[in-house]
C-alpha cells in the first residue's frame, strides 16, 4: 500500500475507516495517562498548583502553530503538486488548528491572572498567538463565503502560504515592539529548565494532543470527502433533469 493510494478518495476513506478506531483508542489512552500525570504533578515552587494549566496551554500552542504549518504544506500540495486530497487536508486542519489556538489563548489568560495578575497583556507571544487566531479565522471566513469549494480551497491555500511567510515577521515585529514598550516587569516560569516531574506530563500531554489532532484531522477529511461526493451527485442529478 503506497502513499499514492492516499490520493484516491475512495481508498483513502477505506484506510481511514480502518485506522480511525485504533487512533481513537490510542488518543483516549494517552489522554488518560497524560491527564493523570498532569493532575498529579507536583506544585511549582513559584506558581503552585496553577502550573497544571501549563499541561494544556503549551501543547495547545504547539498544535496551533503545527496546524498552520500543516495548512501551508497542504497549500503547496494544492497549488504546486496538485495532489487530489491536499485541499481537503488543508480545509480539515483549519477549524482544528483554530480551536487549539483558542484553547491556548484562553488557558494562557486563565494562567496569567493568578500568576502574573492580569488576564491579558500585549506580550510578544500572546500577541503573536492572537494574530495567528485572526489568520485562522480569516481562512475559515474564506471557506465559509466561497460558493465553489474548489475556488475557496485555492484561495485559502494562497492565504495559508502568505500567512506562513508573515507569521515569523509578525513574531519578530511584535517582539521588537514589545521590547520597546514592555513595562519593566519580567515573567518568570520557575527556573529556565523544566523539572522532569513537570516535563514528562507535558510531553505526554503534547503527544496526546497531537494524536487527538491527527484523529480529528482524518475524521474531518472523511466528512469533507463525503460532502463533496454529495455535492457532485446532486450536480449530476440536476444535470440529468435538464438533459
Amino acid at each position: 500500500m503506497a502513499v499514492i493510494d492516499l490520493a484516491n478518495p475512495t481508498r483513502f476513506l477505506r484506510i481511514v475507516d480502518r485506522v480511525l478506531p485504533w487512533l481513537i483508542g490510542a488518543t483516549v489512552f494517552l489522554l488518560a495517562v497524560g491527564l493523570y500525570r498532569a493532575l498529579n504533578a507536583p506544585d511549582d515552587y513559584q506558581q503552585g498548583a496553577t502550573v497544571k494549566i501549563m499541561f494544556l496551554h503549551v501543547p495547545a500552542a504547539w498544535l496551533g502553530m503545527f496546524g498552520w504549518a500543516l495548512m501551508s504544506v497542504a497549500a503547496l500540495g494544492t497549488l504546486v503538486w496538485r495532489h487530489p486530497l491536499a485541499d481537503v487536508s488543508g480545509k480539515a486542519v483549519a477549524p482544528i488548528g483554530a480551536a487549539f489556538t483558542f484553547i491556548c489563548l484562553v488557558t494562557g489568560s486563565l494562567w496569567g491572572r493568578p500568576t502574573w495578575g492580569t488576564y491579558w497583556v500585549w506580550d510578544a507571544r500572546l500577541t503573536s498567538m492572537l494574530v495567528l487566531l485572526l489568520l485562522y479565522l480569516g481562512v475559515l471566513a474564506l471557506y465559509w463565503t466561497a460558493e465553489d469549494p474548489g475556488r475557496g480551497a485555492r484561495a485559502a491555500a494562497i492565504l495559508s502560504l502568505v500567512g506562513a511567510v508573515n507569521l515569523p515577521i509578525i513574531k519578530f515585529s511584535v517582539d521588537w515592539w514589545n521590547t520597546l514598550h514592555q513595562p519593566a516587569s519580567v515573567f518568570r516560569i520557575g527556573g529556565s529548565t523544566i523539572d522532569p516531574s513537570l516535563l514528562t506530563p507535558l510531553l505526554i500531554m503534547g503527544l496526546a494532543f497531537t494524536l487527538l489532532f491527527v484523529t480529528l484531522h482524518l475524521a474531518v477529511m472523511r466528512n469533507e470527502i463525503l460532502r463533496r461526493r454529495i455535492r457532485s451527485m446532486r450536480l449530476m442529478q440536476a444535470q440529468e433533469v435538464h438533459a
Partner: protein
C-alpha cells in the same frame, strides 16, 4: 505607449473620475481623525501621545476600504479577464494597478497627514518624520491589501471579508510605522531602525504582493 504605463494611466484616470473614489480615502481619513477626539476626549496631551497611532490606524483603515475598488470594477465589466489574457505578465499588470491605486489613494493620505497631525496636536517637529513613515508604509498597505483584494474578487464577496483577510497581514507594518513615528517624537529609541525595517517591509511587499495576488487571481478565476 508601454503597456504597463498604459495600465497605470488608465487606472489613475478611472480613479479620479466621478465614481472613481480616488480621494475618498483622504476624506475618510479626515473623518476618522475628526471623530477621535469625540471618543477620546479633547485632552491635547493625550491626543499628542496617541496621535501617531491614530494617524496610522486611520491610514490603514482608509487604505483597506479603498482596496475593494482595485479589482472589483474590472472584474464586473470583464476587463480583468482581458488583462489576464494579455501579453504582459499578470504580476506586472497587477503591480501597475497597485501602483496606480497607491498614487490615487495612498498618496493623498500622506499629503493630508500633516494637517491631520496638527489637529491631533502632534509635535510639529515630528510631523515631517511621521509623514515620512506614512509615505514609506502606505505602499506596503496597498501591496499587502492587493492580496486580499485578489482573494476576495475571486470569491465575489468584498467588504468585510477583505478586511478580515488583510488586517492580520498588515500588523508588522503598523507596528513598525507607529514605532518609527513615536521614536521621532519622544524616543529614547532612534528613528532609523524601525524606519528601515518599515521600508524593507514595503519593498518586500512590492515583490510578494503581486506574486500572491496573481496566484489568487489565476487560481480563483480559472
Amino acid at each position: 505607449m508601454n503597456p504597463l504605463a498604459a495600465i497605470l494611466v488608465r487606472d489613475m484616470r478611472l480613479a479620479v473620475r466621478i465614481g472613481g473614489g480616488a480621494f475618498m480615502g483622504a476624506l475618510f481619513f479626515l473623518i476618522v481623525i475628526t471623530m477621535t477626539p469625540f471618543a477620546v476626549g479633547p485632552d491635547l496631551a493625550l491626543l499628542a501621545r496617541i496621535g501617531p497611532a491614530i494617524l496610522w490606524l486611520g491610514a490603514l483603515l482608509a487604505s483597506l476600504l479603498a482596496l475593494d475598488r482595485l479589482f472589483a470594477t474590472d472584474h464586473d465589466d470583464g476587463s480583468l479577464d482581458l488583462l489576464m489574457m494579455g501579453g504582459v505578465p499578470l504580476e506586472l499588470t497587477v503591480a501597475a494597478k497597485a501602483l496606480a491605486h497607491w498614487l490615487t489613494t495612498g498618496l493623498p493620505l500622506v499629503v493630508v497627514a500633516p494637517l491631520l497631525g496638527l489637529m491631533l496636536n502632534v509635535d510639529m517637529h515630528a510631523l515631517g518624520w511621521l509623514t515620512l513613515t506614512l509615505a514609506a508604509g502606505t505602499p506596503a498597505l496597498t501591496f499587502i491589501g492587493l492580496i486580499g483584494a485578489a482573494l476576495s474578487v475571486a470569491l465575489r464577496r468584498g467588504g468585510l471579508l477583505l478586511a478580515v483577510l488583510v488586517l492580520p497581514l498588515t500588523v508588522p507594518v503598523l507596528i513598525f510605522g507607529v514605532t518609527a513615528a513615536n521614536a521621532a517624537i519622544a524616543g529614547p529609541t532612534p528613528f532609523s531602525p524601525a524606519f528601515t525595517i518599515l521600508c524593507a517591509l514595503s519593498l518586500a511587499s512590492l515583490v510578494l504582493g503581486p506574486i500572491a495576488a496573481t496566484a489568487a487571481l489565476r487560481h480563483g478565476l480559472e
